[in-house]
């Protein structure tokens, strides 16, 4: 068996152990714990305040911009990883390429900033 598969075998083992551990503990808790349900207990927990309406509330759409900016920069990071690993091998041309890539996206960040898309309110 090559090292590659072996290293991921450890990962797999962690997954399995984690899943089994959580499942077993939760099952035990479910079996052992006493259950006395009252309406008071089922209410949404609001730090002691009286809850108003459902726990599910709609959010204003402008928060979407944050999620989207996150995705855009996440994709940018994806490109940064392989570039950083091979930084020396890629050399000057690689540096220029990445600089152009980041510069173009920086225009987007500047635009978002100036258009108040980053204001959290």
């Amino acid at each position: 068996m090559p090292d590659y598969s072996l290293s991921y075998f450890y990962v797999l083992t962690f997954f399995v152990v984690g899943a089994v551990f959580v499942t077993v503990l939760l099952t035990i808790a479910r079996l052992v714990a006493p259950k006395k349900i009252t309406p008071e207990k089922l209410r949404t927990y609001e730090s002691g305040e009286e809850p108003i309406g459902q726990a599910w509330a709609r959010y204003p759409t402008h928060f979407y911009v944050f999620a989207l900016l996150f995705v855009v920069f996440d994709v940018e990071v994806i490109f940064l990883f392989p570039w950083a690993v091979l930084f020396r091998a890629l050399g000057g041309p690689g540096l220029v390429e990445m600089a152009v890539f980041i510069a173009i996206l920086a225009v987007g960040l500047y635009y978002a900033w100036k258009k108040d898309a980053l204001n959290w309110y």
């Binding site: 090559p2 979407y64 091979l86």
Partner: protein, 171 residues
């Protein structure tokens, strides 16, 4: 010690995970659960990539799909008014007809896909250097165009959801 039997077993588990979770995404009533199950499907796909020896792609799958795309979907869910529907989101009257059409298209394609042989990738790992070289040396031009694409998408998203300056002023 030989562990070669592990690989087919892991593949089977992952494949079952993708298919069952994928079907559940479509069939389940609760939209949040559907979104999280979709993340699980993506995670199983990442496992598939690991099996194929493409660990970098697997890492990207986790970062982009399990991370970013799921966040995006969950945001989308939070913007949607929740109504308790008596039915699932999909699968209504047209189901049988749609099933026939999809089967008619998918089964021949499925059968044909078995004709791709002789290209079994060797699990090896350490695919990052090869990937980086191809992205930054061979695919340099599409790579730069992709950054313009990201910029265009960002500007587009902002202009479509940004609060109106006029309505803001009126408030």
């Amino acid at each position: 010690m030989t562990l070669d039997f592990v690989e087919p077993v892991v593949f089977g588990v992952l494949a079952a995970g993708v298919i069952v979770a994928g079907a559940a995404v479509v069939l389940i009533n609760r939209i949040t659960a559907a979104a999280l199950l979709m993340a699980f499907t993506f995670l199983c796909m990442a496992g598939m990539f690991v099996l194929l020896g493409a660990e970098t792609i697997a890492a990207f799958q986790v970062l982009i799909y399990v991370g970013a795309i799921t966040v995006l979907i969950l945001y989308g869910v939070m913007f949607t008014p929740q109504a308790d529907r008596p039915y699932a989101l999909f699968f209504q009257k047209q189901t049988p007809l749609a099933g026939v059409v999809v089967a008619a298209a998918a089964i021949p394609v499925l059968l044909l896909s078995f004709s791709f042989v002789g290209a079994v990738p060797k699990p090896g790992g350490d695919d990052l250097p090869a990937l980086a070289t191809s992205v930054f040396v061979d695919f340099a031009f599409p790579f730069e165009v992709a950054s313009v694409l990201l910029l265009a998408a960002m500007v587009g998203a902002i202009v479509l959801v940004k609060r109106d300056e006029d309505s803001e002023a009126r408030r």
